[in-house]
């Protein structure tokens, strides 16, 4: 009763604390969302692979940029894992040109119908050479849409392609992804090499992975098997980015705890005389601290109610080229961590509460 009554009667004081908490929630949600967005821009397309394992050529040092699997390697892996559970993926950096506009893209090749086929959100999947799927991030940042003709250039050869669909697979190394059939990719990536060209960059494997990875590495020469999450972390810079974002979130959490803790510490010091009255009337330190915790939770809830919508509004207001992805985990990071920070911060006040001597309610003795 007492804790919430005090909040109701001291609206300005607690309103300001709630506002600051809301801004802290907003800050942490935005940091988390920017971190997720940045990570997605680096590795979203790989993270979207519908696979448990990713097989690289061992001499590529597990890099999608350098990995090249021969047709023999691919066939041997397919034999071990089953055709239905595998899919080759080719990768190359390329440009898409429409009229005078040129955009860099991360171009992937895949075999239609295999597990490497991306999910199409509008239009249809590519069936043959001369067709391309573009990621939503590309259509949002350009005027490109399904039905448009684009030109892709590699090794001074132009390839005319028709956009037949749009996908939402994310980006790779900060570039929007685009998808063509594997034969098209081989032709563009290794022009003039014909049957001697590598079959794919990597091979995706799905299904029972008990000791499949070990068997592939043991039976097939120059093959390196990573789980999908390991493959994501193997992308250059991703692990470092994750660490930086985590460090920023951690400092935000610590600063949040200190800011909120300081507020409640000052508030507790200001209320020392009231606390002495409560203690003189028979309230225990635990009771008073319990009331403080209730206030912290109430203020944190109001802070969440302010910070979360603010983050959502910001997401819609920001330009699409800013890598911002507000996810459930962003809200958890922002909301839960600030609530925990507030509770931890309020522990600073616990000692103050215990130290208040009830006899001070009598004034000077």
């Amino acid at each position: 009763m007492l804790a919430l009554r005090e909040i109701r009667r001291k609206k300005v004081q607690f309103g300001l604390i709630s506002l600051i908490l809301g801004l802290m929630v907003y800050l942490l949600v935005m940091i988390s969302a920017l971190g997720t967005g940045l990570l997605s821009a680096m590795s979203g397309a790989v993270n979207s692979f519908d696979a448990d394992l990713v097989v690289f050529s061992a001499d590529s040092n597990d890099s999608l940029l350098r990995s090249e699997l021969t047709a023999e390697q691919r066939d041997a892996i397919v034999e071990l894992a089953g055709a239905d559970s595998t899919g080759g993926v080719g990768y190359m950096a390329a440009t898409v040109q429409e009229d005078s506009a040129i955009e860099d893209v991360a171009l992937f090749g895949f075999q239609p119908g295999s597990i490497a086929e991306p999910a199409v959100r509008s239009g249809r999947v590519v069936q043959d050479e001369g067709e391309i799927l573009i990621d939503r991030s590309l259509s949002r940042s350009t005027d490109l849409e399904v039905g448009d003709q684009v030109t892709m250039r590699n090794a001074l050869i132009d390839y005319e392609l028709t956009i037949v669909g749009e996908v939402d697979e994310g980006q790779f190394l900060g570039l929007p992804s685009a998808y063509v059939v594997l034969d098209q990719w081989r032709e563009m990536r290794y022009p003039g090499q014909g049957g001697g060209a590598p079959a794919t960059s990597v091979l995706l494997v799905r299904g029972d992975t008990g000791n499949l990875g070990t068997r592939i590495e043991a039976d097939i020469s120059n093959a390196s098997v990573l789980s999908k999450s390991e493959a994501v972390n193997a992308i250059g810079g991703v692990t470092e980015q994750e660490r930086v974002v985590m460090a920023i979130e951690f400092f935000g959490f610590v600063i949040g705890a200190l800011v909120i803790g300081s507020f409640f510490f000052v508030l507790t010091m200001q209320r020392a005389y009231e606390i002495a009255i409560f203690k003189a009337l028979g309230a225990s330190s635990w009771y008073i601290f319990g009331q403080l915790i209730r206030q912290v939770i109430a203020v944190a809830l109001v802070g969440l109610a302010l910070g979360v919508p603010l983050a959502l509004v910001t997401e819609t207001a920001l330009p699409s080229d800013i890598p911002l992805e507000i996810t459930g985990s962003a809200f958890l990071t922002g909301g839960v961590s600030i609530t925990i920070a507030a509770l931890l911060g309020s522990l600073l006040s616990a000692r103050q509460v215990v130290r208040v001597n009830p006899v001070s309610a009598l004034g000077q003795v």
């Binding site: 005090e6 028979g282 309230a283 006899v359």
Partner: protein
């Protein structure tokens, strides 16, 4: 318990603040006994130790030497948690300057006592309303202390002291913020409450005009009880 009924008993109470050369003996070897239904005043100049004595009798301070026995129970060796429970259940304080919680209405200030005991229910709310009615401030019950007059605040403080139906009603300088007419009215109503409800009333005051309402006057000087004069 006394053969006459409930009582509060102080035996050779001494309170020393500080230690070594800076030690101050605020109360020295004080013994007294107050029975239920009695309203006793402790008078004396500032610094004579009367508020310290009141704090020891109410379990707010522990004695350096001696003991306090309330209704047959020695509270001298109790820890803070035990003394907090004792204050919650057996003591009603009327503080100097009223000490009402400023963000709670008059009625809510009375309900603080059951709230901190975890016993806030309809019965307690009814009791608070009844006390406010008896003290003549029912129509001001939903005002904050800042909106009440000095007399009204003091009556709220008396109501709060009686809320837990305590054995001991301890009153510290109840008239310090009131004019003499209001002060007189407050002390008279306190004396009435103590007698009607058979409480043990002990009031610390420096205002000798209020002594007409008490049964006995205990005079303190330099931490010692000087005399006990029946009134």
């Amino acid at each position: 318990m006394s053969p006459h009924g409930q009582e509060v008993l102080a035996q050779s109470l001494t309170k020393v603040f500080g230690s070594g050369e800076t030690a101050v003996e605020a109360v020295r070897d004080v013994s007294l006994s107050v029975l239920a239904g009695e309203f006793v005043a402790i008078v004396g100049p500032s610094g004579s130790g009367k508020t310290t004595l009141l704090a020891m009798l109410g379990g707010l301070l522990t004695a350096t030497r001696g003991r306090v026995v309330v209704d047959g129970t020695d509270i001298s060796g109790w820890n803070e948690a035990q003394r907090a429970l004792f204050r919650r259940e057996r003591v009603g304080f009327v503080f100097q300057g009223f000490n009402l919680v400023p963000y709670l209405t008059g009625e809510e200030n009375l309900l603080v006592i059951p709230a901190i005991s975890g016993k806030l229910d309809g019965e307690k709310r009814a009791r608070a309303r009844q006390l406010l009615r008896e003290l003549g401030i029912e129509n001001r019950a939903h005002r904050l202390p800042g909106e009440l007059s000095g007399g009204e605040r003091q009556r709220i403080a008396i109501g709060r002291a009686l809320m837990n139906d305590p054995l001991l009603v301890l009153v510290d300088e109840p008239t310090s913020n009131l004019d003499s007419e209001r002060g007189n009215e407050v002390v008279r109503s306190l004396a009435e409450e103590v007698k009607t409800r058979n409480k043990i009333g002990i009031m610390v005051t420096h205002d000798r005009r209020m002594l007409t309402h008490v049964d006995r006057v205990l005079e303190m000087a330099d931490g010692r009880l000087q005399s006990t004069e029946p009134h």
